[in-house]
């Protein structure tokens, strides 16, 4: 037992921290720190900076231009990025599609798509969820019918995050409606510029439009864009879901959010004293900090086992649930810390407009929208209800 990082790991952390200090533009980290929304250009430019340094794809093998870090290195990198308020890397191409292509795609597909993911030429989005399906991902209704060298796709996807920026979408489509629902699904890559693809933004409770509906109306997709075998898509999807769960605990995000809460509570006054000295508020913050200290270690235990090649089982579901509980509690603490100044809806400020006059203290504008937006954490990516069922069933062996 040793809670200390090795000298090598500490050197790596220092290297990452120094690089971030030099490279990450101040206006970008301020946007992240203050919870403002990032533009497409922000994301693309951060993507390019990481790619230039060779740190864009932590879990890719070196032959494809990846960093090939182990799980502990990846955790250190995540922590430092959160600490520096770096933008979150858009994961759909890099961490979700790429592992599937490497495992199940053809050599041609890898050669064609992977370099364009790294270069940022292709922005990918995910076409999994459908209206009315919720956590039952296998209930795919979008149909793909083979017609010569093409599939003809009809149907609808929803909750497609940042689909409005995307060049390509990877989709689960139904290629056989007559078998068990998991067995007739295929994994198809679709160019968003193909005729018949329509994107409609969904405005959320925080006033933003980060998710979309994507409609397919007789969309013709070359058969070469099928990944792996027809009707085996469910296998690939499940593989992807495992990969989606890296950094699932979000310890770095929570550490940064805790710091934000503390900063605000130190500045804001209640009854003439800093809110940080209010015993009730201090107790709430201390409670979540103590939980986070423990979860950071729970996370490292899982990461450290993963670094030794042990596959995480129910652990990643546990981290998902506890991680989101803590993150949501922190968003709730932030809106409470901000107090009445959480009332105004400052749309211009949220969208990152520089000349918008801000009302109230720092973080006031983003605290309520952040609270509302982060309700998604326990819904998306396998709801916490689904995770809880997985945990108990796995451990009971039911």
């Amino acid at each position: 037992m040793d809670l200390n990082y090795t000298d090598e790991q500490q050197a790596f952390r220092a290297e990452v921290r120094d690089w971030l200090a030099e490279t990450l533009p101040r206006e970008m980290s301020e946007k992240v720190r203050l919870g403002k929304r990032l533009t497409k250009q922000d994301s693309e430019s951060w993507h390019a900076m990481l790619n230039a340094r060779g740190w864009l794809a932590p879990n890719w093998p070196k032959e494809y231009g990846g960093a090939e870090w182990d799980a502990v290195q990846r955790q250190i990198f995540e922590d430092e990025c959160c600490r520096a308020h770096a933008p979150r890397i858009v994961p759909f191409g890099l961490s979700m599609l790429a592992p599937v292509l490497m495992a199940f795609g053809s050599e041609e597909q890898c050669q064609r798509f992977l370099p364009r993911i790294l270069s940022g030429e292709d922005w990918w989005c995910q076409g999994y969820s459908e209206p009315g399906a919720g956590s039952d991902l296998a209930a795919v209704k979008t149909r793909a019918v083979r017609d010569g060298d093409n599939y003809v796709v009809n149907g609808q996807k929803t909750w497609t995050t940042l689909g409005q920026h995307a060049d390509w979408i990877f989709c689960l489509v139904r290629t056989d409606p007559d078998v068990k629902k998991q067995e007739g699904i295929s994994f198809l890559l679709i160019d968003m510029k193909t005729p018949g693809v329509t994107v409609r933004p969904i405005v959320l409770v925080d006033g933003g439009a980060e998710v979309n509906e994507v409609f397919f109306d007789d969309v013709r997709v070359p058969a070469e864009n099928l990944v792996g075998e027809e009707n085996k898509g469910w296998t690939y999807a499940k593989y992807l879901l495992t990969h989606e769960r890296t950094n699932i605990a979000g310890v770095g995000f929570s550490n940064a959010a805790l710091q934000t809460v503390k900063d605000v509570a130190a500045k804001v006054h209640a009854g003439g004293k800093p809110l940080a000295q209010n015993p009730h508020f201090a107790a709430r913050v201390a409670q979540v900090e103590i939980d986070l200290m423990a979860m950071a270690t729970t996370n490292l235990r899982v990461v450290s086992a993963a670094a030794k090649g042990q596959a995480p089982g129910a652990e990643s579901s546990m981290l998902k649930v506890k991680g989101t509980v803590i993150r949501q509690e922190l968003t709730s603490l932030l809106r409470r810390a901000v107090g009445p100044d959480a009332l105004p809806f400052q749309a211009d400020y949220l969208e990152g407009g520089d000349n918008a006059e801000m009302m109230g203290p720092e973080h006031a504008a983003t605290s309520a929208p952040g609270y509302f937006n982060n309700r998604k954490l326990s819904i998306f990516g396998g709801s916490n209800e689904v995770q809880r069922t997985i945990i108990t069933k796995a451990i009971m062996g039911l």
Partner: protein, 364 residues
């Protein structure tokens, strides 16, 4: 002991409920907000015509209600429908301008919005913090979170005539025309769709100095807290109803999600807590006319409970709905915002918990 409404209040409840379900829906409200309008003037006039504003005033003030249960009946219905029209300002200022009969008449007719300009940037939720000054007959200072400030024709402004920033003594109240020289009002929309404003007062000559200081202000805010709590209750009832429908209709893995026991049990807790919220509103309404200490203890107990239950109802309703519950298109998200933001108006859970403790110890 009687938990039934009087005949008059039941009639008001029924007619208001019918009016709102006929004239008001989620789509029309969304359109008003999207169009950048603070509210629907026609609808507000309709509410006034129906007697909604009159119900907030006592008979000797020209109304036909004015007691705690009048406020709770009206605001529960407003909350249930998600109304953003400026009825609350009349509660926040009504008892303060009551001696000005003409003005009250205009308020009741829906012809004048009179709102409270009291909070200041550093006050947070403390009612006794006032730095705006009144001296030599003019007011100077800045007020924030002024509900419907940009739509109001008059403001009730708190200003200090003596004492330090936190003293209860030395606070006086003034009636100020919004078009008076030196008044600058900046308008914004709030997260719950209501309209807020900041007000800067630069050597403003008030129309009148009102009777009553901090004690009158505290009573006005107590009435406002009751109205907000009842509104939150109504909104919770709507969120609850939407969720119950969703649990029945929505199928996953082939069966209605309401058959999943984990959701059933959590929904049971939501149902229990909404009943608790209803009882808390009744407690506050029933003690609105009690002595100050009793009344204020109930103010803080009720607002604390509404904040806690509100968060639970919002979070569970959204979670049980999944993604759809987070969309602007769906009514739930609007109730969620209103319930949540009510925790930020007139004191949140923590503020009122601490205040309840102090009041119970005879210290506030």
């Amino acid at each position: 002991m009687d938990f039934n409404l009087t005949e008059e209040r039941r009639m008001l409840q029924d007619s208001l409920g019918r009016f709102l379900s006929d004239k008001y829906d989620h789509e029309s409200r969304r359109k008003v907000i999207a169009a950048g309008k603070p509210y629907d003037a026609g609808l507000f006039a309709g509410l006034a015509e129906l007697g909604v504003l009159g119900a907030l005033f006592a008979e000797d003030q020209g109304g036909f209600g004015g007691l705690g249960f009048d406020l709770s009946v009206v605001f529960e219905e407003l909350g249930r429908a998600g109304v953003i029209e400026p009825v609350l300002p009349a509660v926040l200022t009504g008892s303060l301008v009551a001696e000005n009969a003409d003005l009250v008449e205009n308020i009741i007719a829906g012809e004048a919005v009179v709102t409270l300009a009291h909070s200041e940037a550093a006050a947070r939720y403390d009612l006794n913090y006032v730095t705006t000054t009144s001296s030599n007959g003019v007011l100077n200072g800045a007020k924030v979170h002024v509900l419907n400030g940009a739509q109001a024709s008059y403001l009730v402004v708190s200003a200090r005539e003596g004492g330090d920033d936190w003293d209860k003594d030395g606070i006086a109240l003034f009636l100020v025309r919004t078009d008076a020289t030196g008044v600058t009002i900046t308008d914004h929309v709030n997260n719950d769709g209501t309209s807020g404003a900041t007000v800067v007062l630069d050597n403003v000559t008030p129309d009148a100095r009102l009777t009553g200081g901090f004690a009158a202000l505290e009573l006005a805010v107590a009435r406002g807290t009751l109205a907000l709590s009842a509104e939150a209750l109504g909104a919770m009832e709507s969120a609850k109803a939407l969720t119950l429908d969703y649990l029945k209709e929505r199928k996953q893995f082939g069966i209605p999600i309401g058959k999943f026991q984990a959701l059933q049990h959590r929904m049971a807790d939501v149902l229990i807590e909404v009943e608790q919220a209803r009882s808390a509103v009744i407690n506050l309404a029933g003690h609105m006319e009690a002595d100050r200490d009793t009344r204020e203890r109930h103010v803080s107990a009720t607002k604390n409970l509404m904040g806690r239950v509100g968060a639970q109802v919002v979070e569970e309703a959204v979670q049980m709905h999944g993604g759809i519950g987070m969309t602007d298109e769906y009514a739930l998200s609007h109730f969620a915002r209103r319930i949540t933001m009510i925790d930020h108006w007139l004191g949140d859970v923590d503020h009122h918990l601490a205040r309840f403790i102090d009041l119970s110890a005879g210290e506030a």
